[in-house]
Amino acid sequence: MIDLLLVIAAAIFGIGVYGALSQQSFVMIMMGLELMLNSAVLVTVVFWWGTTGGNPSGQLLVIVILAVMAIEAAIGFALVTAVYRSRKADIAEKLKKLRN
């Protein structure tokens, strides 16, 4: 059971890596990051469920990952907005030179 779950989590993580590296649009890159965090949530719960004997710290870690997801989204959207305001940039190629 744990093997199957870990393979599923690995597949989701792989798709996330592909998305984060291949997409040009900032928001699509963030979707790749979210998928990787999604897989992290799954793996954490799998280990909590299968190997720790129900240690509640595992669940606590999931709560922390959820907070990290929220933080990532908030800061990500704020940066996208700020960059769009200053550069009219919506894809990563337009930020090749971060200096003027």
Binding site: L6, I12, M28, V62, F77, E93
Partner: protein, 188 residues
């Protein structure tokens, strides 16, 4: 709890759904569909968490993601030149490297998952939500509160970053659109 055949089936079904939905995120031209395929992927993982006895966490994950994905869809509609994907276009770069990296990380992680030996200490059947509550407001209260403070800091920071009227005046002032070096280079 030892998993029965039903949980195997449910895990496999939800897992397949989560993976396929995650894949479709990057295969669709419509931004709304991309955002909501990602939500479907999260709902699949949330359902898997429920099968794994972590009811509360699974439902919280689904609850959080429904709002976040709508915000994501709105941002995509705001920022992208072709949000509905009515004129099909590819917006990818370093495609081959990314595929290699994705497949490579999948293979390595899956290999670790299949080969490594993990201790078999399943969680007890009793309600894990109670244990989580005791942990959050007992031993690990500091961690929980730190997460709350971090979120507050992020809210302030995000507002400061995204505010239209910044410390140095209007955020649009002196805004210059950089040229796309890549395409120029490709054309010559």
């Amino acid at each position: 709890m030892t998993p029965g055949p039903l949980s195997y089936f449910l895990i496999a079904a939800f897992g397949l759904g989560a993976v396929v939905a995650g894949w479709l995120v990057f295969r669709t031209d419509s931004m709304l569909r991309a955002a909501y395929w990602l939500m479907v992927s999260f709902v699949g993982v949330g359902a898997m968490l429920i099968v794994l006895d972590a009811q509360f966490l699974g439902l919280i994950l689904i609850l959080m993601m429904s709002g976040e994905m709508t915000i994501m869809a709105i941002f995509m509609i705001m920022f992208m030149m072709n949000p509905a994907g009515l004129n099909p276009m590819t917006m990818v770069h370093q495609h081959r490297t990314s595929i290699l990296a994705g497949v490579g990380s999948f293979l390595v992680l899956a290999w670790v998952g299949v080969v490594a030996e993990f201790p078999n200490r399943p969680a007890p059947v009793e309600d894990p939500t109670v244990a989580l509550g005791e942990e959050l407001l007992g031993r690990s209260m500091l961690i929980f509160e730190s997460a709350g403070v971090a979120l507050l800091a992020v809210m302030i920071g995000a507002i400061a970053l995204a505010a239209k009227q910044g410390r140095f005046g209007d955020a649009f002032a002196g805004s210059v659109e950089p040229e796309l070096d890549v395409e120029v280079g490709d054309r010559t």
